[in-house]
């Protein structure tokens, strides 16, 4: 427990990954719960959880860029597409193993992300948002026009990865793969924030000119933020492509970019735990809405046709409500709940 003060005497103590034994035990319990989930959940739910894990990887990637470094990107959808297509081309066309293709997909996306990050040196805020939007449109255009490489608008078909003789074709097998990658991503991102690079990112976010005066190479760190972020987005894209086993340009539209931005805003900007909460929230929102519609269909039978519109409506409303009433996102709500119970009954 750390209720009554902070008794660290060395920097090494301060930098520890797990501040207390309690934190370590909590982490182990969470990991065990996640690994044990498929034993209790149905295949449908395992599939949904897999999607949540993949979205979390992408959301953490975006949060490194937008939450930590303060560079807005509305082009995540296209970068997911770059990851997915790279993996598709490498595994289906070139016949390379998934285990090699996955990191290459990340690296290729990181390179392209870094390339589109170069304008960020001159552009800020709104202008950068529009530049990344342009990246989104242009990348998707290239993907849907380069028929020879990407199969054009028809898309490509992928298969699930295998380990030796064992294929990860079941939902459970793929779930474990995604969860392990998510854990590695969380570990990396946590360590990144604790490092010199992470602190440089924060300095760039808070005031980039001041950061430059203090000796932070703006160009290097901005492009690096774009590259690291795109790497994880690319990995998420490749995982998603092998999960759905198909890639086509319309899977990576502007709408997807917005969904990812919504994840980190609803989850909490700059918070890794928040990215996961947001990813789970946004991924499960349509599921929750469709069951809500099942209930309401008795009253309004034509509701089924309106589902996609209704989804958009609620999605927009949720974003606005969060921005107005809880800008800190789900992560902040979680902290408040925790604080309430910790101080109970003497909260002030």
């Amino acid at each position: 427990m750390r209720e009554c003060g902070n008794y660290k005497t060395t920097y090494r103590d301060d930098m520890k990954l797990f501040g207390t034994t309690g934190a370590k035990i909590k982490a182990i319990i969470i990991i065990l719960t996640i690994l044990a989930l498929p034993l209790f959940a149905s295949s449908y739910w395992v599939g949904l959880l897999t999607l949540c894990a993949i979205a979390s990887v992408g959301a953490i990637g975006l949060n490194i860029l937008t939450g930590l470094t303060g560079q807005i990107s509305i082009g995540v959808g296209a970068f997911l597409g770059v990851g997915g297509y790279t993996s598709a081309i490498l595994t289906s066309t070139a016949g390379i193993s998934f285990w090699v293709a996955l990191p290459i997909a990340g690296i290729v996306t990181a390179l392209i992300g870094g390339l589109f990050g170069i304008p960020s040196l001159r552009l800020k805020g709104l202008y950068l948002a529009i530049a990344t939007l342009a990246a989104q449109v242009i990348i998707l255009f290239v993907i849907s026009r380069w028929d020879g490489l990407t199969g054009g608008t028809a898309g490509m078909v992928l298969s699930r990865p295998t380990i030796g003789q064992f294929s990860l074709s079941s939902n459970t097998g793929y779930y474990y793969l995604c969860v392990i990658i998510l854990l590695l991503t969380v570990l990396y991102a946590t360590n990144l924030i604790r490092s010199r690079t992470g602190r440089a990112f924060l300095a760039v976010r808070d005031r980039d000119i001041a950061a430059q005066i203090m000796g932070i190479n703006l160009f290097k760190y901005k492009v690096m933020a774009f590259a690291i972020s795109s790497f994880f987005v690319g990995i998420a894209g490749a995982l998603l492509a092998h999960y759905t086993m198909i890639v086509s340009p319309e899977l990576y539209s502007f709408h997807v970019s917005i969904e990812y931005l919504a994840m980190i805003l609803i989850g909490g900007l700059g918070s890794i735990f928040g990215s996961i909460l947001g990813a789970v929230f946004i991924t499960l929102l349509p599921v929750g809405l469709s069951s809500l519609i099942d209930v309401m269909a008795g009253i309004m039978p034509d509701l089924y046709q309106l589902f996609s519109a209704f989804k958009d409506f609620v999605f927009g409303a949720v974003i606005i409500l969060f921005l107005i009433f809880e800008p800190g996102g789900l992560a902040h709500i979680w902290l408040n709940i925790k604080k309430y119970f910790r101080l109970w009954p003497f909260s002030y």
């Binding site: 807005i72 709104l126 026009r145 001041a210 209704f310 927009g316 949720v318 974003i319 921005l323 107005i324």
Partner: protein, 294 residues
Amino acid sequence: MTFFLQMLVTGIVVGSIYGLVALGFVLIYRASGALNLANGEFVIIGPYICLVLMTAYKIPFILSLVITLIFSAILGLVVERLVIRPIQNAPVVSVIMATIGLSSLLGGAVHMLWGHQTRTFPQVFPSTPINFSGLIITPVYLWSFIVVIVLLLLFSLFFKFSKMGIAMRAVADDRQAALSMGISVKFVYAATWAIASVVAAVGGVLLGNINGLSPTMAAIGLTVLPVVILGGLDSVLGAIVGGFIIGILQNMAGGYLDPLIGGGLKEVAPFIVVLLILMLKPYGLFGSRGIERV
């Protein structure tokens, strides 16, 4: 040569509508520094209301247009009060995201209320094309061009001479200083959103008369982004000139390059231009350059 001129004329007319929609962006950006990504939805809500008034209630075009514009102004006021004002001082990403959320919300509402089919306006403008020595222009195009030019003139006069317009410019220039001179910044913001919403509705009604009306038309909100970037985010003149340039460019790309690569370039060309402009001249043709201090 006729083909070239035809492309040019179509480009100018389409560009004039782009300019009008871009004007909505610029007005809001100038006043409150927010980029209204829900502008596309503002563009389609107006004509839907106008259409419903005309077809379901048999109200003549001019009267339903007036009602539409009043409704649009109210919509702008409501949006400003409920969504934008509470997050005025939030970081840029939040404001952008709020308008994106707003666009999703309004788009969903339009979809739920009026379905996704394309609807056509009842005949408002005569349909016989006018022939200018070989160049064919439909009256709708001509009218939209005239309306745009008139509106632009009105706006330049408004900003130059009216008290309200000057107050708006003052707020855009320096909010603190404007406040201390006794200008109600809240009122200026609200008025800006109302005006921008009305301008968007006018653009929408013209577009609806040209192409028919469907929820996908909201995509113009994004198509117009290159226009404002090219012209400079805070310049009214820039919005207009940018609108013409992008309109012409789009039609030229569509007419000459699309057959070579198999289509689709028409939508992408403006964004390629944007990327170039952002790298070479980030504040656009007429935008004011920001100076930053720590």
